[in-house]
Amino acid sequence: MADSTLQPTSAFSHLEPTSLPGIAIEPRENFTMASFAAGKGRLEALAAAIREAYGVELPRRPQRVVGNGIVFVWLGPDQWLAIAERTNNRDLEVELKQRVAGLASVVDQSDGRVIVRVSGPLAREVLAKGVPIDLHADTFGVNAVAITHASHIGVIMWQVDAAPTFELAMFRSYADSFAHWLLEAVASTVPAAA
C-alpha cells in the first residue's frame, strides 16, 4: 500500500497527545485490528490455534492478554478483538483468516474503532466523569476489560498498566465527540491556574 495515492486521515480533528501534571492522553490509530468469533463447536480448536500461533490463551472472561506481537481483548462469549501495531503493512484480517481458517469468522475492524489512551494518577478521576463503572484497582485492575460507555458513547475499555493506563476504543465516527468530552473532563480535573 506504500504505492497507493490514498493517505489515511485521523478520525480526531482536535486531539493531540497531551501531557499534564497527573494525566496524559494520546489518540492511537496506527493499529490493525480484527474481531473474530468462534464457529459453532470450534472454540477449543480456535484456542489451540491461537495458542500455537501467538503463545497465549484466549481469555474466557472480560480480560485482555498480550501475546507475541498481538493483544487479544475479550468482547463477549466466544468473541475477541485482536490488536497489533500497523507495521510493515501488517493486516490482522488477512493474518487471522489464514491462521484460524474454518475455526472462526474474522472481520476487519482496523478502521471501525479508534483508541484513546488515558494515563496517570488522575486517570480514574477523569474517567469517572463519563464512565459509570468502578475502575478501582481492586475491582478493575491491569488487563481488565469492560464494554461500557463514556459520556453516552459506547466504548470497549481495558487497563494496560498500574500507572494506571487505560485505553478506550470507540467507533470512529464518535472520535471528536469523545475527545471534546475528554478534554473538558481533563481541564476540570487538573488543578486550575490560580
Partner: protein, 1003 residues
C-alpha cells in the same frame, strides 16, 4: 436593656459579632452588599450569619401575603430567607441565605417586594388575606372561565411567586461523576464521622458527604465537649485521619438528595458557589452518582417551630439555629431573648445565650413542671423561668419587639425582646429512607417520626435514628459504621467511642398554642397558616396527601421540613385522631434544590448527545455542504453553489446532474453487518421475508425484514461474498435495532445455528457514485486489474477489489437513484482521501456532490420506500412488496403477517400522485378523499407519506397509501390537508416517475 458589663467583646464593625469563637476566619474581612448596601463579614460565614452579624434579620417578603420575614434557621430547611444572589447571567433566585456562603463582592438582593424590602406595595395582600386562604385560586377566580388565562393567572403570578431567574444562558460548567464505594456515610456530624472512622479503619472504601462547608454537625453548633476537649478539636482529628486514608473521599458542601435502586444515591456538590466565579474550566456544581454497597444515614434532625400568633415575625428563630449562629459563626442574633420550648434540648439555648452576653428575658417552657435539666439551667443562670406557660403572640412588624405570654395561671404578660428562640422538638431527617417507599414510624416517647423500613443495605446513626444525645450519636454512628463493613466482609475491629454527655431528650408535645391571636403560620414558605388546615378539614381534605395538595403545604423548595409534622399534628388534633392515625406524606427527591445544569452536566447545547461524523464530513464542510442531523449523524443535506437561492434550487441541480452525468454521496451511515458461519444462509433466510437461498456468490439482493407481528421492520441489501460470508446493510435509522434483532435471533431463537454476526458499520467509508457517467468516473479510481464494464460488473454485482494502487475496497452495483450506480467502500481511514480523489476525478464528467435532499427526491421519483413508508404500521403488501414475500420458507413475521387483517385488500397501499394543476405543491400528511364526498373520517381513503419537487418531471410528485390504490390508477382524488389549509386535486399514478421500465440501472 443594656448588655451585662462582663459580656464578651464584639467586633466594632459588625454589631452582633463576638470577638472570639466560631469557625469564621476573623483574620480576613470581606465585603458584600444586600439590597445595595455594603456590609462586612468573614470567610466561613453564610450570607445569613453575616446579615445577622450586622444586625439584620429581615430578609424577604412572604410568598402570598408579602409579610416581612426573617432568617429562621441555619440550614437547608430555611423557608424564609430566600435571596437572589449575584447579577447578570449568574443571577440565581430563591437561594437560601442560610446555605449560601459569603465571598468577597457577593451581591444579594431580597425578593418578592416592590419597591423595597422596607416598603412593599403588595403587602396589601395581607389585608385581603380572607380571600387568599388555602385553595383560593380554585374558588375565587373560577368565573368567568376565560378570565383565568388572560387576567387572573398572570395577575396572581406577578403578585405571588418568588425571585427572578437569569434571562441569559448560564455561563457556568457542570459535571457528573460516578463514585463507587463500600460504605457511603451521609452526614458529617458526630455520628457520621464515627461511622466513617469505623468503616475506614477496617480498610474499606468510604465516601462521607456533608452539606456544610465544615464537618462536625451539631457538635459544632452546640459547642459540645468530646473526650474533655472542644468538639471542634475532635472533629479536626477525625477529619485528618480520614483524609490520610487513600480510600476515603470526603465531600463537603455536598447534599445527598435522592435514594435510588441498587444502592445508588444522587448528591449535589456546590463546588464553586462559595467563590465569586468558578475557577477556569472547573464546574460550578458537580452531580455525584454514588453507588454504595452499604450506606449509613447520619443525616441528623431538623428542629420544628411551635405554631403561635404572628410566629413569622422576623426575629422569631429556631432555638438550635440561635445556638448555631453563636457557636459556629460567633454571632449573637439578638440581645434580649425569650426562649420558648417544650423540650430540654431547647432549654439549653439559655446557656449559650448567657455565655455570649445576651440577656435572656425568660425561659418559657410549656411543660407544667421544670425538668431536671431546666432546673439546673435556671439555677445556674438565674434567668426567669416560666413553666406551664406559652407564647401566644409575637408583636413588632419588621422585627419582633416582644411577645405575649400566657402563664400557667392563665394571666397574659407582655415581655419585650428582639429575638424569640423557639423549639418544638426535632424531626429526624428521614427523607432519604422514604424515597423508595419506606413508611416512617411514629415514636411516642421522642414525639417524632423515625425511619420505618429502610432501603436495602442502609443503616442509621445518630439523631436520624432518634439518638439525640451526643453520647448516643457517637456510639450509634460507630456501631452503624462497624456493622456496615462487617456485612461487607471486613474483619471486626474495636472502636473506642469517645466520651461525651448523654443529654436529656425529654419532650412534652406542643404543636400550636391554643387561643392565639394573629396569624399562626405552619408552612412559612408557602404561607399556610393553622386556619388553612382547619379550612381544609372543614372542606373534607383530611387525608395528609389531600391536605398537602389543597393547601400547598410542604410543596416549596424546603420540602416543608419545618412544617409537615406540625401540620399533620394539627390535623390530628382537629380530627381527634393520633398522629400515626393521621399519617405522613412521603418525601421524594430532591431533598435539596438541584440546578438543572447539574443534571445535564457536560450534555448541553451541542453536547446534548454525541455527534457522529461520516468519513467525508470535513471535505463536505469545505465544499459548503449544509449538514442535517439524522439520528446522531451529521450528514450533508445539500451542497449549495453560487447563485442558487434556496435548498430546492440546489437539490434540483444535484438531481439533474445525477440523472444526466454523475453524482457522489456519502452513504457510510447505513448499518453494515458482517454475517458468517456455515449456517449464515439459513439464518438470513429466516430473518428476511424474501428468498435468499438462491443468491449467488458475488451478487447482491434487496431484502425486507419483518417484525414478529408481520409489520415491515427494516430494509436493505444482502451481498454474498463467499459460501458462508454475507454482508448486509440496514437503514441508517435502524442500524442498531437491526443488529440487536439479529443478535437476539442467533443467541435466543436459534442458538444451534453456526452463525457469527459482527457490526462493520464504521469499518467502511462507503460512497454512492450514481449517474450515467458513474462507471467512467470509477474507472479512474478502481485498479485496472478489475473489470467494471457493464458486462464484467453488471447490475447487482458485488466484489472485493483494490483502488488507487492497492487499497482494499468493496464495490457494489446498487442503485437507489434509478441510474447506473455503484457503492464503493474503503477502510474508513482512507474515506476522506477517497472522496477527494473521486471529486478530482469527477471534474471532467461534471460530477456533483449530493446530499440527503437529492437522495430523497430521487428515491421518491423511483418509488423506493424509506422512513415515511417504513413507519412501523405498514406490511409488505401495503408498500407494494407483497410479491417479494416468500411462500416457500418460514421466516420471522410470516405467520402473523398472514392474518386476514394484514392482507385485507381494503388496506391503503402504495401508489404515486401528481397534482392535476401541475403548478400545485403537494404536502405529506394530506389525506385522500374521493371526489364528491364529504371530507370526514369515514371517507378517509389514506394519506400522503412522501412528497418532492421532481426536476425530472417539472412538478411536485408524491407517494402515499390509498385504499385499493393500484386499481385506482388514473382516478382524481382530493389531497385534503385541513391542518395547513390544503385541498388539492391529485391524479393517482404508478409509484414510478422516472424510467418506468427500469433500464437505466443496467447501464
Amino acid at each position: 436593656m443594656a448588655r451585662p458589663a462582663n459580656s464578651p467583646s464584639r467586633d466594632p464593625l459588625q454589631p452582633q459579632r463576638l470577638s472570639n469563637g466560631g469557625l469564621v476566619d476573623r483574620s480576613r474581612t470581606i465585603e458584600f452588599t444586600f439590597d445595595g448596601r455594603t456590609y462586612k463579614g468573614h470567610p466561613g460565614d453564610t450570607v445569613a450569619s453575616a446579615l445577622l452579624a450586622n444586625g439584620i434579620v429581615l430578609a424577604g417578603r412572604s410568598f402570598k401575603y408579602h409579610r416581612p420575614r426573617g432568617i429562621i434557621s441555619a440550614g437547608s430547611e430555611e423557608p424564609n430567607a430566600l435571596l437572589e444572589l449575584r447579577t447578570g447571567a449568574r443571577r440565581e433566585p430563591n437561594t437560601k441565605a442560610t446555605v449560601a456562603e459569603l465571598f468577597d463582592g457577593l451581591e444579594a438582593t431580597s425578593q418578592n417586594r416592590w419597591p423595597s424590602l422596607d416598603f412593599d406595595v403588595m403587602s396589601v395582600n395581607s389585608l385581603l388575606s380572607p380571600i387568599f386562604v388555602a385553595g383560593f385560586y380554585y374558588k375565587t377566580f373560577m368565573w368567568p372561565a376565560k378570565f383565568w388565562e388572560k387576567l387572573y393567572e398572570p395577575a396572581i403570578r406577578r403578585a405571588a411567586g418568588l425571585g427572578r431567574a437569569a434571562d441569559v444562558a448560564d455561563p457556568d460548567l457542570y459535571e457528573k461523576v460516578t463514585a463507587h464505594t463500600d460504605v457511603l456515610v451521609i452526614g458529617g456530624g458526630p455520628a457520621g464521622l464515627m461511622a466513617a472512622l469505623a468503616a475506614a479503619r477496617s480498610g474499606k472504601r468510604v465516601v462521607i458527604v456533608d452539606e456544610q462547608a465544615a464537618l462536625g454537625g451539631r457538635a459544632i453548633d452546640d459547642a459540645a465537649t468530646i473526650d474533655g476537649r472542644p468538639a471542634r478539636d475532635w472533629v479536626r482529628a477525625a477529619e485528618e485521619e480520614l483524609a490520610a486514608r487513600p480510600d476515603v473521599t470526603i465531600l463537603r458542601r455536598t447534599a445527598v438528595f435522592g435514594t435510588y435502586d441498587g444502592g445508588t444515591y444522587a448528591a449535589i456538590e456546590r463546588v464553586a458557589d462559595h467563590l465569586p466565579q468558578p475557577k477556569d474550566h472547573h464546574p460550578r456544581q458537580r452531580l455525584w452518582r454514588i453507588v454504595a454497597k452499604r450506606a449509613v444515614l447520619a443525616s441528623g434532625a431538623t428542629e420544628r417551630p411551635i405554631v403561635f400568633g404572628d410566629n413569622d415575625r422576623p426575629g422569631v428563630m429556631l432555638a438550635g439555629a440561635v445556638r448555631s449562629y453563636i457557636n459556629r459563626y460567633g454571632v449573637v442574633p439578638g440581645d434580649n431573648v425569650v426562649v420558648f420550648t417544650n423540650n430540654d434540648y431547647g432549654a439549653t439555648t439559655v446557656t449559650d445565650l448567657i455565655r455570649s452576653g445576651a440577656n435572656v428575658v425568660a425561659l418559657v417552657d410549656s411543660r407544667p413542671k421544670p425538668s431536671e435539666t431546666v432546673s439546673r439551667i435556671a439555677s445556674a443562670t438565674g434567668i426567669k423561668l416560666l413553666n406551664g406557660a406559652v407564647v401566644t403572640r409575637a408583636f413588632g412588624k419588621k422585627r419582633v419587639s416582644g411577645v405575649t405570654v400566657r402563664t400557667q395561671t392563665g394571666a397574659e404578660v407582655k415581655l419585650l425582646c428582639d429575638l424569640v428562640a423557639v423549639s418544638g422538638g426535632w424531626n429526624p431527617n428521614i427523607q432519604l429512607t422514604t424515597h423508595l417507599g419506606g413508611k416512617p414510624a411514629w415514636n411516642d416517647r421522642l414525639q417524632c417520626f423515625l425511619p420505618g423500613a429502610l432501603p436495602p443495605s442502609m443503616s442509621l446513626g445518630g439523631s436520624v435514628a432518634g439518638d439525640f444525645s451526643l453520647h448516643k450519636a457517637l456510639s450509634g454512628g460507630a456501631a452503624a459504621g462497624a456493622s456496615a463493613v462487617a456485612l461487607e466482609g471486613a474483619k471486626p475491629i474495636t472502636i473506642v467511642v469517645p466520651q461525651a454527655a448523654d443529654e436529656s431528650d425529654a419532650i412534652t408535645p406542643l404543636w400550636r398554642v391554643e387561643d392565639h391571636a394573629g396569624k399562626a403560620f405552619v408552612d412559612f414558605q408557602n404561607d399556610v397558616s393553622d386556619k388553612d388546615i382547619e379550612l381544609a378539614e372543614r372542606e373534607g381534605f383530611r387525608a395528609v396527601e389531600h391536605l398537602k395538595r389543597y393547601t400547598t403545604l410542604g410543596m416549596a423548595t424546603d420540602q416543608g421540613r419545618t412544617a409537615n409534622v406540625n401540620a399533620l399534628a394539627i390535623m390530628a388534633e382537629i380530627t381527634s385522631r393520633t398522629i400515626p392515625q393521621t399519617g405522613i406524606t412521603i418525601a421524594r427527591p430532591p431533598y435539596v434544590p438541584v440546578a438543572l445544569g447539574a443534571l445535564a452536566g457536560h450534555h448541553r447545547g451541542k453536547s446534548f448527545k454525541p455527534t457522529r461524523l461520516p468519513p467525508s464530513y470535513k471535505w463536505a464542510k469545505e465544499q459548503g455542504g449544509v449538514c442535517v442531523e439524522t439520528g446522531l449523524w451529521l450528514r450533508p443535506s445539500y451542497f449549495p453553489r453560487k447563485g442558487e437561492k434556496d435548498w430546492l434550487d440546489t437539490a434540483k441541480r444535484e438531481v439533474n446532474t445525477v440523472r444526466s452525468a454523475v453524482g457522489i454521496c456519502d452513504v457510510s451511515t447505513l448499518g453494515k453487518v458482517d454475517v458468517q458461519g456455515t449456517d449464515a444462509g439459513i439464518f438470513l433466510d429466516r430473518i428476511y421475508m424474501n428468498n435468499l437461498k438462491s443468491l449467488p456468490i458475488g451478487k447482491a439482493r434487496y431484502g425486507g425484514m419483518l417484525r414478529e407481528d408481520g409489520v415491515l421492520f427494516d430494509d436493505g441489501t444482502i451481498a454474498r461474498f463467499g459460501d458462508h460470508h454475507y454482508f448486509i446493510t440496514t437503514t441508517t435509522a435502524n442500524a442498531v435495532r437491526a443488529l440487536q434483532h439479529m443478535e437476539y435471533c442467533s443467541q435466543w431463537l436459534w442458538p444451534e445455528l453456526d452463525v457469527q454476526i459482527i457490526s462493520a458499520t464504521e469499518q467502511w467509508a462507503q460512497y454512492a457514485v450514481a449517474g450515467p457517467k458513474s462507471r467512467e468516473l470509477l474507472q479512474k479510481i478502481v485498479d485496472p486489474a478489475f473489470d467494471i464494464s457493464d458486462a464484467g460488473f453488471p447490475y447487482l454485482q458485488v466484489g472485493e477489489i483494490t483502488v488507487c494502487g492497492g487499497i482494499k475496497a468493496r464495490l457494489f452495483r446498487l442503485s437507489f437513484s434509478g441510474e447506473r450506480a455503484y457503492e464503493i467502500g474503503v477502510p474508513a481511514r482512507y474515506g476522506d482521501a477517497l472522496m477527494r480523489k473521486l471529486w478530482e476525478a469527477g471534474r471532467e464528467f461534471g460530477a456533483c456532490a449530493y446530499g440527503t435532499e437529492a437522495l430523497g427526491v430521487m428515491r421518491i421519483e423511483k418509488g423506493h420506500i424509506s422512513g415515511p413508508e417504513l413507519n412501523g404500521n405498514t406490511t409488505p403488501h401495503d408498500v407494494g412488496l407483497g410479491g417479494m414475500v416468500s411462500k416457500t420458507k418460514d421466516f420471522i413475521g410470516r405467520v402473523l403477517g398472514a392474518r386476514p387483517g394484514m392482507l385485507d385488500p381494503n388496506r391503503p397501499s402504495l401508489v404515486g400522485f401528481r397534482p392535476v394543476d401541475r403548478s400545485a405543491r403537494l404536502r405529506s400528511g394530506a389525506h385522500f378523499i374521493a371526489q364528491g364526498v364529504e371530507a370526514t373520517a369515514e371517507n378517509d381513503d389514506g394519506y400522503m407519506t412522501s412528497v418532492a419537487y421532481s426536476p425530472s418531471n417539472g412538478h411536485w410528485i408524491g407517494l402515499g397509501f390509498l385504499k385499493h390504490g393500484p386499481s385506482r390508477i388514473g382516478e382524481i382524488v382530493r389531497a385534503y390537508d385541513p391542518v395547513r389549509g390544503g385541498d388539492t386535486l391529485v391524479e393517482v399514478v404508478k409509484p414510478v416517475f422516472v424510467d418506468q421500465e427500469g433500464v437505466r440501472v443496467r447501464g
